[in-house]
Amino acid sequence: MPIKYENVSFTYNAKTPFSYEALSSVNLEILDGSFTAIVGKTGCGKSTLIQQLNGLLVPTSGEVIINDYVVAKSRKRRTKKIKELRKLVGLVFQFPEYQLFEETVEKDVAFGPKNFGASNEGALKSAHEALRLVGLDESFYKRSPFDLSGGERRRVAIAGILALNPNILVLDEPTAGLDPRGAREMMALFKGLHDNGTTVILVTHDMNIVLEYSDTVIVMEDGEVREITTPLELFNKENDRYSLETPLLYKFVKSLSDKGMALDIRMIKDIDSLAAAIALAPGNKR
């Protein structure tokens, strides 16, 4: 079942002098099993949007429907036990390593499952499995999370969410502050999960990641959804109006076509295909 936002609006601090409308009549669908990127400059409402997915925030008006759960303001419409939604939708915030607190890595990862009623043994089992997924072996189990490096701590934090076995994984800038290799490993992890059927929703500023991993892009601006499209279509248009950083690949393509080279844009998705397209362009410099 797709995730549906039906006419969702959200206002922070409603009815006070500080009220601020962060989302305005959002209507969208996110398909099961998709890898969706949500982009837009800071303040466009991305973070507010995703927090409706696990009930942390509840729409001021409108509804969000995830499988059988309804997230809505009215108690009549809202699913009882909305907390259970947090097992289905795993939400990982930016810099998640700041949430670690237990004495050992395995205890921290087991914390989530325990909160949902798992037994000690069951929770540890899920924890070990989740740690395996993020690439941390048994040697890490009994170590204190505070002794690990930043990248390792982030992986522990993500394992903490994966241990809940969510069908839908929502990530807010998961690669922020990581070095390129760390970022690549992290994205490979999410791709693996996606290949196994998890719906992945990714909020990011990194257009290279959007290009390489996602199949759908939702562009937001000023609390509204401006476009729902595919990465290629997005970057092949003028996207200066959204203040998005064009991936270098497309910047170069643009500079070439500005100088008069005729390129078949549809065949360009990475550097090799770009080189091939240049080679095929009339008057090439072979």
């Binding site: 490096s149 502050g177 550097i271 240049i278 410099k285």
Partner: protein, 271 residues
């Protein structure tokens, strides 16, 4: 004159494993040098050692020909300005003005001169509209610009950027990079040492130093360094876009090796 000379530097956090392992390099005055490498390669530790924030057990650090020691610490620090990674954890003042003033207070700048200096440098980083703003109301990029104003106000000869844009969104990154141009305009002799993950930034600098597991494994101008593909691949470092494109084009039979930047390359390809 060399802005910075590091000779056979060793440092260990835990006494067992060397975070900085026999590092030597030099930075000529007025150059823009990038240090790249994975997290844990020793880059940030190096920055702290140069600033004397960590004490090294072996080796020597010379800043503008002065040897770094307990006695020379204050004098050397007054010639270096460093911008750290976390915009919040280096913002000390209650407002933008107070934060810029902090450095001035430490260096005994007379009270009467402070206001003018603060206004001048806030303006240079385009933060004149935010003088009384509190840090909790500023974006990461704005806070980093205030940090830069703070160090520029002290007229440094060497600026160290310790992953200053790592935690910023693209807009913030752009703002800080533009501010760097301002820095160099202010002082063409300014030496900049940038510790970064941004491989494209490294490709544009005068010199690149590649660190891995506490050692310098490559150094030289970007062209030389990025030509060493095997070594870079061995430590899992990516090549800048221009290098990757050159390679791909070569495979197609197009030789663009001699072009230093994308602009020239595009010109050539479109002729």
């Amino acid at each position: 004159m060399r802005a910075l000379e590091v000779k056979n530097l060793f440092f260990s956090y835990d006494g067992k494993h060397d975070a900085v392992n026999d590092v030597s390099f030099a930075v000529e005055r007025g150059k823009y040098v990038s240090i790249i490498g994975h997290n844990g390669s020793g880059k940030s530790t190096l920055a702290k050692l140069i600033m004397g924030l960590l004490a090294f057990k072996k080796g020597e650090v010379k800043v503008f020909d002065e040897v770094l020691s307990t006695a020379s610490l204050h004098a050397i620090r007054s010639r270096i300005g460093i911008v750290f990674q976390n915009p919040d954890n280096q913002f000390i003042g209650a407002t933008v003005k107070d934060d810029i003033a902090f450095g001035l207070e430490n260096r005994l700048v007379p009270h009467e001169e402070m206001e003018d200096i603060i206004l001048k440098f806030a303006d240079k980083v385009h933060m004149s509209d935010f003088l009384e703003s509190e840090p909790s109301n500023l974006s990461g990029g704005q806070k980093q610009r205030v940090a830069i104003a703070g160090i520029l106000a002290m007229s440094p000869d060497l600026v160290i950027l310790d992953e200053a844009t790592s935690m910023l969104d693209p807009k913030g990154k752009r703002e800080v990079k533009e501010t760097l141009f301002v820095m160099r305009e202010e002082n063409p002799n300014l030496t900049i040492l940038s510790i970064t993950h941004d491989i494209e930034e490294a490709a544009l600098s005068d010199e690149v130093i590649v660190m891995h597991q506490g050692k310098v494994i490559l150094s030289g101008n970007p062209k030389e360094v990025f030509a060493q593909e095997d070594k870079l691949k061995a430590i899992d470092l990516d090549l800048p876009f221009i290098q990757k494109l050159k390679k791909a084009l070569k495979k197609q039979g197009i030789d663009v090796d001699n072009f230093a930047n994308l602009g020239e390359m595009a010109e050539f390809l479109c002729r």
